[in-house]
Symmetry: C2
């Protein structure tokens, strides 16, 4: 017989696979029509000079996929049911797509595009970038703990599978750390491990907020949280912030949830006064509302000890306490935690289970030991000294170069400063001088003050900070 298909012995692809692909291509291109009889395996094997088993393997695959139909005794045929004009089949990286734009959900439309943060060109001094200083993290100690748990990963994975709220030794370590360092009132039973505090906030929105609900937020406030609540259909109710933090008296009575940053208000940097903390708890109790306390960088306070958490002050049934390791360790870890009122633990674990089941095992296990053996607190103490010095260097440079034309807001805490410049063209001046700056506009629902900027000092040395401010001053 003349072979209707060709194979190429120089290709790495197995011969049965080549035969299969050639027939499939031919059938879909219409070279072999529905009902057409196939050569027998014996004939084709002889014609192609391959073993009969090779041809049989290809035919079986074609039958399994519906290209061929076999009738015992009467041979093999191209399937009757194939549509006339089928598309080609060979996998390439070419994606064929109709150009019609996709209709997206209201949720994702409301989220809006992710704020761009393009890497700065060479020579530009970036005073806008977020995050801790990776270079000072004790990766040697961390690697030792990861390797330890790699060696016993089998039993660990089995145990992990049972812990739907998160790996239990990690929940224990975090509960103990929070009791000790943040006066949070909790046991491991109230802790749920999440994949970073962003997931914590998303789960809060999904568990606590229905479309149309009111959510009170600080003005200015953290845009990442506000966008989530808004995308969930919440009506945001801003309440202003002064030197004592959120104006609790300005909270709307009808809000179901208040999202707050009491330890270090984002972005302004003040802390919520004790009197207002107690008022806030009373507000939540009276309205049966929930307070989401986002304690995102409370480790870094440079005068006195870190402020105790709001959660530990009063009735725990109204406070969801959210924390992250992204600032104290590094964001690529993607581990955060939530401390929940007992009534919310099960619904939260449920939402997490349907969102992504669990957070990955290995780094949870290493983190449990990292906290339990004191590495976390040791690293935080070290970084507190480093960040305090960097903050001071930035303050000194601002004072030297701008004097009273730069007003620094907030407490001696955190990883950034908010600065108001009394210099009208500061943004264009920064562009000309090769300094990347981030203004606070995204943090306001209403109009933002002119010339208010977030200046990060956590991952730049004192010299770079000084140089950045000098360039700004021109």
């Amino acid at each position: 017989m003349r072979t209707p298909i060709a194979i190429d012995r120089r290709r790495q692809r197995p011969l049965h696979r080549q035969i299969y692909e050639e027939w499939r291509r031919g059938i879909l291109a219409g070279r072999f029509g529905p009902g057409e009889r196939m050569p027998s395996t014996r004939e084709l094997a002889a014609a192609l000079r391959v073993s009969r088993a090779t041809v049989t393997a290809a035919y079986e695959q074609l039958v399994a996929e519906g290209y061929l139909e076999g009738h015992r005794g009467s041979g093999t045929f191209v399937s009757q049911e194939l549509p006339d004009r089928a598309p080609g089949l060979v996998a390439t990286s070419t994606v064929r797509a109709s150009s019609a734009p996709a209709r997206l959900s209201a949720f994702v439309e409301r989220l809006g595009p992710i704020p761009l943060r393009e890497p700065s060109p060479a020579g530009v001094l970036d005073l806008s970038a977020a995050g801790p200083d990776h270079d000072l993290f004790p990766f040697a100690a961390w690697g030792r703990l990861v390797r330890r748990h790699l060696r016993r990963i089998g039993p660990g994975l089995r145990r992990h599978a049972e812990d739907r709220a998160g790996y239990e030794p990690l929940r224990e370590a975090i509960a103990s750390y929070l009791r000790r360092s943040r006066a949070v009132r909790c046991s491991a039973d109230h802790v749920v491990i999440v994949s970073g505090s962003q997931q914590a906030l998303d789960l809060c929105a999904r568990v606590l907020v229905d479309s149309g609900d009111e959510v009170a937020v600080e003005e200015p406030g953290y845009p990442g949280a506000r966008q989530l609540f808004a995308a969930a259909g919440a009506r945001l109710r801003p309440a202003a912030v002064d030197a004592d933090g959120l104006l609790v008296a300005a909270l709307p009575p009808s809000s179901r949830v208040a999202y707050v940053t009491p330890s270090h208000q984002f972005p302004i940097g003040v802390s919520l006064s004790l009197a207002r903390r107690l008022d806030l708890l009373a507000w939540a109790r009276a309205r049966r509302a929930f307070i989401i306390e986002d304690d995102y960088d409370s480790e870094f306070r440079y005068v006195g000890a870190p402020l105790p958490a709001l959660q530990g002050l009063g009735d725990q049934s109204r406070v969801v306490y959210v924390g992250t390791l992204s600032n104290a360790m590094f964001p690529g870890l993607r581990i955060g935690y939530v401390v929940l009122p007992p009534a919310l633990v099960e619904p939260f674990v449920r939402a997490k289970w349907y969102a992504d089941r669990q957070t990955a095992y290995l780094e949870q296990a290493a983190l449990a030991d990292f906290i339990g053996e004191g590495h976390l607190e040791q690293h935080v103490r070290r970084m507190r000294r480093v960040y305090r010095a960097r903050r001071q260097a930035l303050l000194d440079a601002l004072d030297r170069c701008f004097g009273s034309r730069a007003t620094v807001l907030g407490d001696a805490a955190g990883m950034h400063l908010v600065v108001r410049f009394d210099v009208p063209d500061i943004a264009s001046r920064a562009r000309r001088a090769g300094v990347a700056l981030r203004d606070t506009r995204a943090c306001y629902l209403g109009e933002a003050p002119a010339n208010e900027f977030i200046l990060r000092f956590s991952d730049l040395g004192g010299r770079a900070l000084g140089e950045g401010v000098r360039r700004l001053a021109g």
Copy 2:
């Protein structure tokens, strides 16, 4: 002076911290009233026989938290603004919570409780448990790759932070793997890394489905996906499954999304015929609907090569292809992937960014090499042989013990069998005999057939499978 507070030098707690806590407790308990003058730091230091700096540190903390007010020159006073009856403050593990049940969102109410899977008591043979066999995973090779990336974690983390769709070398490795092994038409630009396929499905629901939209699902089908769509407010439209898979002709014309498992229908185990695949693509094109192709265990097909993915057959603009490493590797890894039409890539990355930013770095980096160096395909080939033998052992045992009273559904593929027993009291018999079984009821929106069970063979040896079936037969 008589000291109003007591400290204990035998305690580990620093003295300034003890002083701070004692005052705080006293103030909140009303022992020191608003406006009351505090002893000077000098007086208190002398009375307690500690350094003045110790007392100053405690006072500064109390001022920072609003318990005290300092007036330069005139001393320090208990704050005026403290509410009368404040709660206690010492952090313990006791959680005080009002007993009122929390009002939860409609979303989490609709999700309903997580299906229970309690660990089987000793002696019970569990034929219901899901998942791959951990004991055969090449953890030595895996550990080597994780350690490799631990050694260069700094630069890796910086690169990870830029890759919002997922670590770029992993997206490359997955795109190449899917082109090679699943005939998926894609490049790394179409791949988004997610934290397991459950997150992929959740993001599908969030990006593509509005409350009130129709979503077509297979009947029976995968409950984990259906619950997500229903919780998002979708109206589920079931379409029946026969020996050729989903009855595409029964798909409702008004559905916006169809969730399907073409390679190995869950739970029944049939594969969608080629003719129906082409019909399904035509259905989606005509209605501008999206097909979510969940390819959860396509690696394990025991006759012929794995079936190519639906995604590679036609117009890629209508198919969202979802895959996971949970079955081919292990679930505690929590890594999955989505291959998207170009128009959906940005909205998907956006939804992922607000859901949890990114998937953690370290295991993405190790996985890129695990795939790139051929370990994944080698492991899959090995497990295909192992699972094929286990499946055969289960089939043999069923045939031996039940003969025609057990009907096995589906293709020679996957990690489980669906079996219909023509034995009326099989569930109670299983309980008496110490065998854990899982029926298919959760997979049906409508009424489930009696005595239909999902029998897992992937993580049990042939002997245990035989023993389980023998016990069932009594």
